[in-house]
């Protein structure tokens, strides 16, 4: 586990950014998982976690620019939703983890918060609505979007199967 102090923020990462040899090569050539944890659920964390995840993705998944953008945007929306909805008037953390299973060509990204999520209004028309576009975007961009809310918090899991084989068309 590696901690980088970035201004007043602490970004804790493992996987491609800081790796432990003990955990190397866990599943026959799968890249080490990405982890960005123990960061406050705010807009700066969203930007920083997205940038770090984008670096990991570029290093480990051979994606076209369009598909990489799709993945980054979906993950961004999951992070942004946690920031906006998990901790009304209070503070808390948001964690992003991701792993790529080479054999199944499957990418999984998980965003976790530890607050009480208010489900955004997914019925709002995204062409006219000021907000509530995050969930619509995630569902459009990820192959599978699973949202699990408990008293302990909310976990959003985004999955892409056959990621590199079924890439989004250019533009």
């Amino acid at each position: 586990m590696n901690s980088c102090s970035l201004g007043t923020y602490l970004v804790t990462m493992s996987g491609a950014i800081s790796t432990s040899d003990d955990a190397a090569d866990p599943g026959g050539g799968d890249p080490l998982p990405f982890r960005c944890s123990q960061n406050p659920a705010d807009a700066n964390t969203v930007s920083r976690a997205r940038a770090a995840f984008g670096g990991w993705l570029q290093q480990h998944c051979p994606l076209t620019t369009t598909t990489a953008h799709d993945v980054l945007l979906a993950v961004n929306e999951a992070l942004a939703n946690a920031v906006e909805h998990a901790y009304a008037g209070t503070s808390g953390n948001v964690d992003l983890t991701a792993s790529y299973d080479v054999a199944h060509d499957t990418l999984t990204a998980t965003v976790e918060d530890y607050g009480h999520w208010r489900l955004p209004n997914a019925t709002a028309d995204p062409r006219f609505s000021r907000r509530g576009r995050g969930l619509v975007l995630m569902r459009a961009l990820a192959e599978d979007t699973a949202i699990e809310s408990t008293e302990a918090g909310t976990r959003v899991r985004l999955t892409w199967h056959l990621l590199t084989r079924h890439q989004a068309p250019a533009r």
Partner: protein, 124 residues
């Protein structure tokens, strides 16, 4: 054994410029438009609208990342502008055109490939 890396991971930044051509105001963004930077764009748009343009163009041709918060600003600006101020968006890259298309925003707001095309469109 641990490998130590000290990464500089910047918060998203977006440079916002304002240009006028006669009574058309062009707000140009360069960078990433997400929940960090979208409020800046919204403020710049609000200030420009107070000066009474006949048309407003938001130029996203140099935006490399467009999140839902950026699209929210486009939709809100469309509402603010109509019916008195003609509103158009210039966007050409994958990072902007694809989410705009996915969300159906192009059904509501005129999207052009270049600022020049948008300028012509709002003048006619």
């Amino acid at each position: 054994m641990h490998h130590e890396f000290h990464n500089t991971i910047d918060v998203a930044s977006c440079m916002i410029d304002e240009h006028w051509r006669d009574t058309t105001v062009i707000i140009s963004c360069a960078g990433e438009l997400d929940m960090n930077t979208a409020p800046d764009l919204e403020r710049r748009i609000a200030v420009a609208l107070q000066r009474g343009p006949t048309a407003m163009i938001v130029d996203l041709t140099r935006v490399g990342f467009l999140a839902s918060h950026g699209m929210g600003v486009l939709v809100a600006t469309h509402t603010l502008c109509s019916p008195g101020v003609r509103f158009a968006v210039a966007a050409s890259g994958r990072a902007t055109r694809r989410p705009i298309q996915l969300m159906g925003i192009a059904d509501v707001i005129a999207i052009h490939d270049t600022v020049e095309e948008a300028v012509v469109a709002v003048a006619t």
